[in-house]
Symmetry: C2
Subunit: 192 residues, 2 copies
């Protein structure tokens, strides 16, 4: 049995290596540079090995997305933990979100821009994605205002942040006024 267990462990290790390498490559040179050949070369295996772990490149993107969702949820929760007022919590959350997007563009793309073959906003949505949304809702739910469903409010706030994040990164918004945009969003959307 121990031999099989070792093999399973090695296999799991290799899978983690694939995901980590894909992520690293994507962060350094963009997702376009993450080709199956380069990825295989980087992990020092041949291409077909990738396909014994994942159905295709899309699933690798999905794996990076799930990893990122967990990290993002953690980042958002720790950002809001220290703040005492509701306004501070919301502002910290927004800043943490945009900060994560800026610092991990490839992971952010895997999550919200590319097709990783993941289901969103459904029952079969993977747990990390649900949890990241939950992390948003924990803070945003309390500032939704009367008569507005927390889920709906969270979606709208999230979408706004997403718009700011993506338009900024593609240089369709200038990065200079980033802070002012956050302030405006928080002050107007949240009912404090």
């Amino acid at each position: 049995m121990s031999v099989q267990e070792r093999k399973q462990r090695e296999r799991a290790d290799r899978e983690r290596l694939i995901v980590a390498t894909a992520r690293e490559l994507a962060e350094q040179q963009g997702w376009d540079a993450v080709t199956t050949r380069r990825l295989a070369e980087s992990i020092e295996y041949s291409q077909p090995v990738l396909y014994s772990h994942f159905r295709g490149k899309r699933e690798i993107i999905g794996a990076v997305a799930l990893e990122g969702a967990t990290e993002m949820a953690t980042a958002m929760r720790s950002a809001t933990a220290a703040a005492s007022t509701a306004r501070e919590r919301v502002a910290s959350l927004a800043r943490a979100y945009l900060d994560f997007a800026e610092r991990n563009p490839a992971v952010y793309d895997a999550l919200f821009q590319l097709d990783g073959g993941l289901a969103y906003a459904q029952e079969d949505t993977p747990e990390p994605l649900k949890d990241a949304f939950a992390a948003l809702m924990e803070t945003l739910g309390e500032v939704a205002g009367e008569g507005v469903a927390p889920g709906l409010f969270t979606e709208v706030f999230w979408a706004s942040l997403h718009g700011v994040a993506t338009l900024t990164r593609s240089r369709r918004l200038l990065p200079e006024d980033a802070e002012q945009r956050v302030e405006l969003l928080v002050d107007r959307l949240a009912v404090l």
Copy 2:
């Protein structure tokens, strides 16, 4: 002279044909299906002809984007023209924006999602793009509220719409509550 003029005219016609065909193909089967081979096949010329009009696929996307920007500006202006109150104007604008994105996903992608090699938010930004932003600002500038620059407010409102549009289309937001999301955005962001 007339011979040269005819040739120039034919060349311009062919260029329009390329852009129109690219757009059509993209709307029908997505931008991934718009390959230089298929596009060339569709216009009944060989591949290299495309490169005598555009530097590459990116520029073709850019041409579709510019075409789309003009249409979008028109759509937004005619949506706000009929409305009498400021709130109605803003709500109509938002709906027109999201409607355009939903009805012309490929054009919307060319404008705000893909790289068409265009400059945004700069002096050398093409006129159609500037004008589309101007169309937004005409309506949104008057509801920015005191002490908030119209340009900044327009950017934030636009970004929010963009977030809703893209997350909805990639099925990360369910389309059901679309109208509620618009109402919430308008009522909270705009100072009426």
